[in-house]
Structure formats: structure tokens, C-alpha cells
């Protein structure tokens, strides 16, 4: 596996958590999520629209987030996504799992190094 595909797989497996984490901060619309993701990761995470929107629709369908059209202060209407209680619970579970996973990875890679 190349480093590029390794990173792609990591990102693919964690897109939902990244979206839920951003929406925990505040409700956002699609383009805003992409911008925030890039900004918060200092350009490390660059998710395509073809990944973002299907993930958003899936998360809505599964009840982790909800969406509604809102008029922004600047004028135009945008479909804004926000976290639900179920989404918050899922995010807490994912974070806990991630902490355990990262700690174990660090232990193993540090020992190997």
C-alpha cells in the first residue's frame, strides 16, 4: 500500500467523525464544512465534494445529523446541517474508540521504533 492510499483509507474511515466533530462546534452548510475541515487541519484534510455530500446525506438518513434550509445573514439560503442527540452519542463513542486506538497504535509504534 502506498502512503497516499494509506492516507486515503484513513480519511475514508474517519470522514463521518470529522463531519460530526465540526458540526458539534456549530451548524454548517456543505461548503463551510469543507473549508473548516481544511482550515482546522491546516490543509491536511482535503475532502472532495463527491465524498462530503454522500456522507452528509447518509448521516442525515441515519439520524446523526439533521438539515434545513436557512437564510444566511449575508443573504442567500443554504442547507445547514446540525448535530442530533443521536449524533452526539455516536461522536462520543467514536472519540472513545479513537482514543483507545491511537493509544494502542502509539504504544506499538513507539515500542517498534
Amino acid at each position: 500500500m502506498t502512503l497516499g492510499s494509506y492516507l486515503t483509507q484513513l480519511l475514508k474511515g474517519n470522514t463521518d467523525v470529522l463531519i460530526l466533530s465540526l458540526l458539534q462546534r456549530e451548524p454548517m452548510y456543505g461548503h463551510q464544512i469543507l473549508q473548516q475541515l481544511e482550515h482546522a487541519s491546516a490543509g491536511f484534510f482535503q475532502v472532495s465534494e463527491g465524498t462530503l455530500y454522500p456522507a452528509l446525506y447518509r448521516l442525515v438518513r441515519e439520524g446523526f445529523i439533521r438539515s434545513r434550509w436557512l437564510k444566511l445573514p449575508a443573504g442567500p439560503e443554504r442547507k445547514v446541517y446540525s448535530l442530533t442527540k443521536k449524533g452526539q452519542d455516536r461522536l462520543d463513542e467514536c472519540r472513545s474508540t479513537w482514543d483507545g486506538f491511537a493509544a494502542a497504535m502509539n504504544r506499538v509504534t513507539a515500542a517498534a521504533g
Binding site: Q32, S48, E49, G50, Y53, P54, K79
Partner: protein
């Protein structure tokens, strides 16, 4: 909205076909997204025309995006769902009408199935592809039986060129057949194990037909062509056609799993009660376990893939 954006969204709409209000909602959101993206790029100093091109390119090919959005919604458009369900209806007609006993009709039916399956592959495996691919997968099963029947004839001293072809086919059958089925399942599982289960679903019925035909003296025996089994399988595949329509249109994943498991159990129970009413509960339970293990095996593959 520029003509480039409108053109892209039109092409996306052609492939999407989720339903009026959903399509309109997605188009509205993506148009807003392109607008935001163009504004962002222009602010960064990119010329407007190039910014628009980049924003559209960022969405990817309309067909690919439509496919990803359909998967996210899980709902298959009516036209695609009907076409997918048509695979089982076609199989019901072939089995019920015993078209498989006439070589020309059998070959023509197989050619139709293979052509539709290849077309589905070319389109990038839309939801309707899997029922047709499942029917196509049953062809090696039938071909294998024919090869073994010819081999059997050769073993009886009737060594003809056709019998020699049967020997060659029989030798190749197991490795090639296994590789084809395993590869198809692995490819389908990568996307969704439920697709792989749909792929497997026509096979048990075809196996029942082959066993019945064999017990009746083989394909070329000229004996009574298993009318009870054919009728039963016709009814089974007709029900599966309805089941596939509901499955493809089901909005939630657990609905699909329920339809798959519930439908298989209902059909097996019904068919057993009609054909073998004295079979006993233990036999029925054993068959049910085997059938479910077979249909749900892709879930196990997906867990370990």
C-alpha cells in the same frame, strides 16, 4: 446560474432519478455549493471563468456523483428497481415456460442475461445490475451440469467430439467456476455485502431445478420435464421479483436486511410446504439455516475483507 453549471446539473439529474423533490433539493444544494466555491476561488485571485470550471470539476463526473448520492440515499429509482426486479421475472419465465429445454431459446436467454450484465458493468454497476449478475452467475452452474452430463455420457462409451468437449468443460468447471463466483462476490462485497447477497439469491433455485431435472433423467432424457418443480420455481422467482422491487426501493438498510432474510424464509417455507409437506420441521429448519448461511455469507466476507 451559468450554462456550464446548469449543464452539469442537468447531466447529474439524468443519472440521479431519486424522485422529484429529492432531486430538486440536491440540485439546489449543489448549485449553492458551486456558487460558494466560485466566490471563494475568485477571492483568492482565480479568474471567474477558471474558478467556475474548477468548482464544477471538483464535483467529479455527473454519473459517478449520482451513483454515490443514490447509494447514500439507498433508494433505487423506480425505473432501475423495476429493471432489477425484471431479472427474476425473466428467470421465472425461463423456468416456468421451460424455455431452458429448447437449446435455441436457452442460448438466446443466456445471451440476453450476459448482455444486460455486461451493460450494467459498463455503466458502473448500478443497483439493477446485481439481480441480473446473479442470474448470469447461475449460467456457469447450468453449464457445469451440462458438461458433467456429457462427461457421464462419454464414460458410458459414447466418445464423440461433444463428449470430449464435455470432459474439457468438466475439468475446467470447478476452478474457473469457483474463481468467477468468488471474484464476483469479493467485488460486490467491497461496495456492500447486501449487493453480494442479491447476487447469490438466484442460485439456490437454479440448483433445485438442476437436481430435479437430473432426477427426472437428465436434460436430454426426453422425460417429463419436472412440471411441479418448474411451476414452484416459477412462483418462487415471481415472488423474488416482487421482493427485489421492494428491496431496491427500501429506504433503510434494516428494511433491506429484513426483506432479504424474511423473504428467503417465507419462500423456503412456502415452497417446502407445497412440494414436500411431509418433510418435517427438522428438515425445514436445516434447509433454512443452510439458505440463510448461504445468503448472508457475504456479510461474513465483508467483516474479514
Amino acid at each position: 446560474m451559468s450554462s456550464d453549471v446548469a449543464g452539469y446539473l442537468d447531466r447529474l439529474r439524468i443519472h440521479l432519478r431519486l424522485g422529484g423533490s429529492q432531486d430538486a433539493d440536491i440540485m439546489r444544494e449543489l448549485a449553492a455549493h458551486v456558487e460558494d466555491r466560485v466566490e471563494e476561488l475568485v477571492q483568492r485571485g482565480v479568474p471567474a471563468a477558471r474558478a467556475q470550471r474548477m468548482a464544477i470539476d471538483g464535483l467529479g463526473r455527473p454519473r459517478t456523483l449520482a451513483h454515490l448520492l443514490q447509494q447514500a440515499h439507498l433508494i433505487t429509482p423506480w425505473r432501475d428497481a423495476l429493471f432489477g426486479a425484471g431479472a427474476f421475472a425473466f428467470l421465472a419465465a425461463v423456468v416456468g415456460g421451460q424455455l431452458w429445454r429448447a437449446p435455441v431459446l436457452a442460448v438466446a436467454s443466456a445471451a440476453v442475461v450476459v448482455a444486460i450484465t455486461l451493460y450494467g458493468l459498463w455503466l458502473g454497476r448500478p443497483a439493477w445490475f446485481y439481480p441480473w449478475a446473479g442470474v448470469a452467475l447461475s449460467l456457469p452452474l447450468v453449464a457445469g451440469y451440462i458438461a458433467f452430463a456429457l462427461l457421464h455420457r462419454a464414460a458410458g462409451g459414447d466418445v464423440t467430439p461433444i463428449a470430449l468437449a464435455g470432459i474439457a468443460g468438466a475439468v475446467l468447471y470447478f476452478p474457473v467456476g469457483l474463481v468467477v463466483v468468488a471474484a464476483a462476490i469479493l467485488v460486490a462485497v467491497r461496495r456492500d455485502w447486501l449487493d453480494a447477497s442479491v447476487l447469490l439469491s438466484p442460485l439456490p433455485g437454479v440448483l433445485v431445478l438442476i437436481i430435479a431435472a437430473h432426477r427426472a433423467g437428465g436434460l436430454a432424457s426426453g422425460a417429463d420435464p419436472v412440471p411441479t418443480t418448474s411451476l414452484l420455481l416459477f412462483a418462487t422467482y415471481a415472488c423474488m421479483s416482487m421482493g427485489a422491487l421492494l428491496f431496491l426501493r427500501a429506504p433503510m438498510r434494516h428494511h433491506k436486511v429484513t426483506l432479504l432474510v424474511g423473504g428467503a424464509l417465507l419462500l423456503l417455507g412456502g415452497a417446502t410446504l407445497i412440494a414436500w409437506p411431509d418433510g418435517g420441521v427438522v428438515t425445514l429448519a436445516g434447509r433454512a439455516v443452510l439458505l440463510l448461511a448461504f445468503l448472508l455469507s457475504p456479510a461474513l466476507v465483508a467483516r474479514h475483507a
